[in-house]
Amino acid sequence: MSEQTATLFPSTATTPGGVSIELEGVTKNYEGQAVPAVENFTMRIEPGELVMFVGPSGCGKTTTMKMINRIIEPTSGSIRIDGREVLGLDPNELRRHIGYVIQQIGLFPHMTIAENIGTVPRLLGWSKERVNARVEELLDTVQLEPAQFADRYPRQLSGGQQQRVGVARALAADPPVMLMDEPFGATDPITRERLQQEFLRLQAEIGKTIIFVTHDFEEAVRLGDRIAVLSERSQIEQFDTPARILAAPANDYVKSFIGSGAALKRLALMPLADTTLAPLAGAPGKRPTVPRTGTLRDALDLLVVTGADAVDVVDEAGAPLGSLSHADVSANLAGIGMPAGTGMPAGAGMPAGTGMPAGASIGETSPGAAG
């Protein structure tokens, strides 16, 4: 049984993490409906990629996703995971190798948390010891103390904790592909943000191929490697990285989805560690400081709040690395698309002479640290 686990998608045997997903001309017609729910959908998703499907309710994004694990059977077209045509596989066997998380979570209320998480491994015929070990590992992964949570029941957990169990359950048999249908949609904003952050950290670790359906564009920008903006009949209006969609929306539809403040949203995607800083103007310590771990949006926020001409970016130890004025923020925004974090000369995206490699300022301003 476990050999079969490893070979359903060939590359999982050799490489951990995700596999590719290809949809080709996928169409779903419902009987008695003139217009298809999904029409001629074609997309290739690279191994380990986190792709967000964004669109209004009823645009077919969920239907498209559910055809991949055949909860909904496509009318025509081809869906390949790791090169294997899924329409030729046994649906139940297929689903045991695809993680599936839905908004309502759907935990089994009569089973303990451990039993819930162990569901797919048990279906795959794992030994009891192996299931137990895996459950413990996963509870650790989603930051729920195994000793405390394993024997509890779903109703004894908060919504956020239940959703983490939902994710752990989907990961149980280490599937290379995960399908997530608005998984954080029903949680309060604070819990949602925490879950999103944890999820990003988790994905950095496990590198699954993930399709994540949401109607929240902010969420898509925050989480996605690439975003597919979908309209009626699941038509792809634009399929690109969040930064490029924000910088160059393909059409008015995409623009309307981004809403106002596209530049601010882009700034939030630009970590200060990767931006080009201006040299420190005058003595440090007089200007407000923003930590290097923040984004350009944080820097701008500070500029606006304090009314200062410039803010200093500081490293973890509090040593200033360089300054940012309003003009520097704008210049960085204009220079998007440059390879980030390579310490390139700032001239590429800035008025000549105003910028310098971020690295250089370290030596200049804090010789002690450099020596």
Binding site: N69, I71, P91, N92, E93, L94, R95, R96, H97, I98, Y100, I102, Q103, Q104, I105, G106, L107, F108, P109, H110, M111, T112, T119, V120, L123, Y153, P154, R155, R169, L179
Partner: protein
Amino acid sequence: MQSGYWENLLKFLERRWDDLLQLFLQHVAVVALSVAIATVVGVGIGLLVWDRATTRTSAITLAAVILTIPSLALLAVLTPVLGLGWGPTIVALVLYSQLPIIRNTVVGLRSVPSHVLESAQGMGMTSRTALLRVQLPMAWPIILTGIRVATQLAIGIAAIGAYVAGPGLGQYIFKGLSSLGSKNALNYAMVGTVAVIIVALLADALFILITRLTTPRGLRV
């Protein structure tokens, strides 16, 4: 007058204690056996019909129609085929128990939220596995309530089984009714009736216990 009556009753009980105890146990036995068979049949039918609209409606309607047949009439119809005694009594009780058991099984299985079923399906459970491992345990408290109602129903109707020489406390009730005016008529009828009530109370207490013991911990409110 009052004290004379109680003395009479005590004497009646003392003289027939062994006999009464035997009838009591017979009553319990015939109900337990019938409900056990009815549960297997009713839950089985429920599992087969719960997601098929037409068969589901037919099964429940049929069970409801059976329940409207007067018990004396049903027993009378059964005796030519099954003879007297335990046979017709058990068959009648199994038939009468079907409505609460089938109905609650269907309601229970259908009450499982669709997202729970979708996640079961999404994890690769076959529909049979989902039915037996997810739906049935989740529906169990509701099914058990159906069995409890069926049991109460059966305890009452079993008394009428004595009409076709069936086992149980009905024998005392019928004996009392058929000898109205005699010295012990009232004693027979009343002792039989009170004993039936005691069986019903004990059965209900037993079901409270069973419900506690068999409801999955995660479903207890």
